[in-house]
């Protein structure tokens, strides 16, 4: 039994494709297997799959719950219908026009929405949805007002006029295409960047991922798909009116994604099937909507990952269990790690210089006149009691905060980062005090996300899985493996990062930071929570890195570790620099001891 499964697993790629092909073929045969009632239902499912795959991207990968997407469907439907009824243009042309207009409107919506977050974001999308609905009702001349647009011509192709059967086949083809696209996207740098930004905006930014660009891409994709779906619906049913595109419809779209499972490829298919068939099955005259709401609630409460999501999770664990029992393919240990840091800087002796840095938070003066230099290739530690301002300083250097006063210079040039994602381009990478690994991504993918900033892959390439993109992926994968080897990670690399033990998490985070090809690495308490053995590994890693020419700034509390590893130590207390010098000197300096232990202790010890 086991070996049979092993065989199945090895060929699971081919098995999946074959079964998918069979199912699609069966679906394509439906027009001849069922009556127009059921065919119409399948058609509806198809249009929902098109829209909701876009929404799946938006909700599942980007974490943006838009409750106003009916408005974008409406845009596609109305623009295309207006053009085909008034200007007599062919369906194929107007559908494109509809998609384009949806993209434009979607972009307009994206701007305030992405800037906001949380419930605000959803509220804003609701408001936009309502506005578009109002426009549909009021702007008579264009939309036909509340009675909508009638007599929309069916699509024609070289003299052939589409009917329900052919529209269904069209929708089937588009749905399959769209599902393939989103699957491609998930396995690309864009997909990873989206998930990273959703999970942890700040960590993603520290890797050079610009939140706006990534989330806008999601918006754009979902807008175009919604527009297309709207145009198809309009031309299949010959009639559209505003009451098809109101708030409840937007809620339905979200429900389909959640019900199926946000972030899963087949989620929208399952969700749409249930949503379309449910009203047909529930022919009870009373309390139907209540049951509908109840089901929605039950899904949210009991199956937060949706149907496909929950099933996938259970199966995934089982499959991984089986897969592990076999021998893992041996990987060539490549000792070409130096090429990872080809950026060996010609930066001169001083990497980073701080001069008179002040930082206020309202009334709190967190950093007071901080000045010191960090030599190239050195390990420079920042120590000081809690609340001294060490992390704040790191945040200023990495661009998370702006200093109120003072200057920074990197490699002799003035450093004035506008944001966290800017500094990646300048060769600065950092880790955080608390683990900010992307839990949904695998260990390997986490490291690969780090490369997203430097290697810009086109969105279209990612969608279409072009040969260029596939090559880039392979290169990134290789590099990620090398980095994981470098930090000494021996475990399962395809495991979701959420399952890593804490010490490993901190190390993988460093690998991820290294993936951005930095010259300057900022580490915020990397040894916190590590065992002695793990700290030993950390030490080895840091020495290797400096050997490659990296400069490291380190915040730490483990004093013996600091002593062993540092070239220079800067001590902070209450936001001021008490001193900068060699570790032995600093750590026995009475002022430093006083700062840590307090005056009485010093007097007692003296």
């Amino acid at each position: 039994m086991n070996s049979f499964l092993q065989l199945g697993l090895r060929y699971r790629g081919t098995a999946a494709v074959t079964s998918a092909a069979i199912i699609v073929a069966l679906l394509a045969a439906c027009p001849w297997l069922m009556d127009t009632y059921y065919l119409n239902l399948l058609f509806m499912i198809g249009t929902f799959v098109i829209t909701c795959t876009g929404m799946n991207l938006l909700i599942g990968y980007c974490g943006i719950v838009s409750i106003g997407h009916a408005g974008l469907m409406a845009t596609g439907a109305y623009v295309s219908s207006y053009l085909s009824t008034q200007a007599g243009l062919s369906f194929w042309v107007v559908a494109l026009a509809g998609m384009l207009m949806s993209l434009v409107i979607g972009s307009l919506i994206a701007i305030p929405t992405i800037k906001a977050g949380g419930v605000y974001l959803s509220m804003i999308t609701i408001a936009f949805g309502v506005v578009i609905h109002e426009v549909l009702i009021r702007w008579d001349a264009f939309t036909g007002g509340p009675l909508g647009i009638s007599g929309i011509p069916k699509p024609e192709l070289g003299g052939y006029r589409f009917d329900l059967k052919s529209m269904y086949l069209l929708v089937l083809a588009v749905s399959v295409l769209v599902l393939v696209l989103i699957r491609n996207l998930r396995r690309s740098a864009w997909g990873r960047a989206m998930i990273a930004t959703k999970e942890n905006e700040i960590a993603a930014a520290s890797l050079g991922i610009r939140k706006f660009a990534v989330q806008y891409a999601g918006f754009a994709f979902s807008a175009v798909l919604a527009g297309l779906s709207g145009a198809i619906y309009a031309h299949a049913n010959s009639f559209i009116s505003p009451d098809t595109y109101h708030f409840q419809t937007s809620v339905q779209l979200v429900l389909i994604v959640i019900l199926g499972g946000a972030g899963t490829v087949l989620g929208p298919v399952v969700g749409a099937t249930i949503l379309v068939f449910l009203p047909e099955l529930l022919q009870m005259e009373k309390l139907r909507m209540a049951l509908y709401g109840g089901i929605m609630f039950a899904v949210l409460f009991f199956l937060p990952k949706g149907i496909v999501g929950t099933a996938g999770q259970l199966l995934g664990r089982k499959i991984r269990g089986y897969a592990k029992t076999g021998p893992s393919p041996a990987r060539e240990r490549n000792s070409e790690t130096p090429q990872l840091f080809a950026h060996a800087s010609s930066s001169g002796a001083v990497m980073l210089e701080l001069n008179g840095i002040h930082k206020h938070f309202g009334g709190l003066h967190a950093l007071k006149d901080v000045s010191f230099s960090v030599a190239t290739g050195a390990v420079h530690s920042l120590v000081g009691p809690n609340g001294a301002g060490k992390t704040t300083l790191l945040n200023v250097i990495s661009g998370l905060y702006s200093a109120n006063q003072g200057t920074l210079s990197l490699r002799g040039k003035s450093l004035n980062p506008r944001s966290l994602s800017d500094v990646t381009m300048l060769g600065i990478a950092r880790t955080f005090q608390h683990s900010r690994l992307f839990k949904e991504l695998t260990v390997l993918e986490n490291v690969m996300v780090g490369m997203a900033g430097r290697r810009r892959v086109g969105f279209a390439h990612a969608l279409l899985h072009t040969p260029k993109q596939r090559r880039d992926e392979r290169v990134m994968e290789e590099r990620a493996h090398l980095l994981l080897d470098l930090i000494g990670y021996e475990g399962d690399r395809d495991m979701p990062a959420s399952q890593l033990p804490y010490g490993h998490q901190r190390m993988v985070e460093i690998a991820r930071a290294l993936a951005t090809e930095p010259d300057l690495l900022l580490l915020d308490e990397p040894a916190a929570g590590m065992t002695a053995a793990e700290i030993g590994q950390l030490e080895q890693l840091l020495r290797k890195l400096t050997a490659y020419g990296l400069t490291i700034i380190l915040i730490e509390h483990h004093m013996d570790f600091v002593q062993r590893i540092s070239d220079t130590v800067t001590v902070l207390d209450f936001g001021k620099v008490i001193g900068t010098g060699k570790p032995e000197e600093m750590l026995t300096d009475p002022r430093v001891i006083q700062a840590y232990l307090g005056a009485e202790e010093v007097a007692a010890g003296a």
Partner: protein, 293 residues
């Protein structure tokens, strides 16, 4: 002149209601960052229950008023417990938005089942007479909104400033972790916020039913309107919300009169959207440190 006054009064009366409903969102949002998306349906319930008690059960006005408000407050307590508490994990947990929307759908349909689809107006104790101020006409039962809502708001402010529950509510809004460390159950406090929010909704609905017809389907539209108010003002500023509600009510009437009734909604929403581009967090929002990513 009398026209301007007429419009002002009409606008204020409606604006009061908007403010009251939107305030319900704010009360809970400041405490734990959540709100009940079905607030509109709660208002509807307040109105429908009020109408039912007075017209079918023939209970006295004030008794019905209090009962309607109390029942809705209780319901909101239940909603918080079931639909929100489980999902209130971290800043990105958005499931409660969807679960409360689902609750709204259920409430509306169950109300339809028990109440039927008819509309009703609760007889107002001040009668149907008209008050004329400098030529502008306003019904007494409509005019009475203003002092009643003002009284409610004052009551609310007093509660927040003087009672110990109010103190805890403000403290939790400021720093939830600290409150828990002090041994106060933040869950209980969130529950209180929801009870208050429900009370407001119930009172608003009951009040509304004395001058406007209520039926089981008015909830959704009200809720959406209130969301616009909340977005405009910034959900976490109660005073801003009251101001925004009143402004919106007045703006609607004036735009309708002087610009166009057909495009009034679009103008209003257009304003909301412009505000969103300029200040995505709302006009009166109290922002914290800006982190640049």
């Amino acid at each position: 002149m009398s026209l301007v006054l007429q419009l002002m009064i009409s606008g204020l009366a409606v604006g009061c209601l908007y403010a009251l409903i939107a305030l319900g969102y704010s009360l809970t949002y400041v405490v734990n960052g959540t709100l009940n998306m079905s607030q509109g349906q709660l208002v509807m319930l307040g109105g429908v229950i009020m109408f039912g008690f007075t017209s079918h059960a023939h209970l006295p006005f004030l008794v019905s008023f209090a009962l309607a408000a109390a029942l809705v407050a209780l319901l909101n307590l239940g909603i918080e417990r079931l639909a929100i508490r489980k999902f209130d994990r971290g800043p990105n947990a958005i499931e409660w938005v969807l679960s409360t929307i689902a609750v709204g759908i259920i409430i509306q349909d169950v109300a339809l089942y028990f109440n039927g689809p008819d509309e009703g107006v609760t007889p107002s104790p001040v009668g149907d007479g008209m008050l004329r101020i400098m030529g502008a006409g306003v019904y007494w039962k409509e005019f009475v909104f203003l002092p009643v809502v003002a009284l409610l708001l004052v009551g609310l402010i007093v509660f927040y400033k003087k009672s110990h529950w109010g103190l805890w509510l403000r403290a939790t809004a400021d720093n939830r972790t600290a409150i828990e460390i002090m041994g106060v159950s933040s869950n209980k406090i969130v529950a209180v916020a929801y009870v208050l929010s429900g009370l407001l909704a119930g009172l608003g609905g009951a009040l509304m039913s004395t001058n406007y017809a209520v039926s089981v389907d008015i909830g959704l539209a009200l809720g959406l309107k209130a969301i616009s108010v909340a977005i405009l003002a910034g959900v976490n500023n109660p005073k801003g919300i009251v101001a925004a509600g009143l402004i919106l009510g007045i703006a609607e009437v004036f735009i309708g009169q002087y610009i166009s009734t057909a495009f009034r909604e679009m103008f209003v929403y257009g304003m909301v959207i412009l505000v969103l581009y300029w200040k995505p967090a709302g006009l009166f929002n109290t922002s914290k440190t800006v982190i640049k990513v």
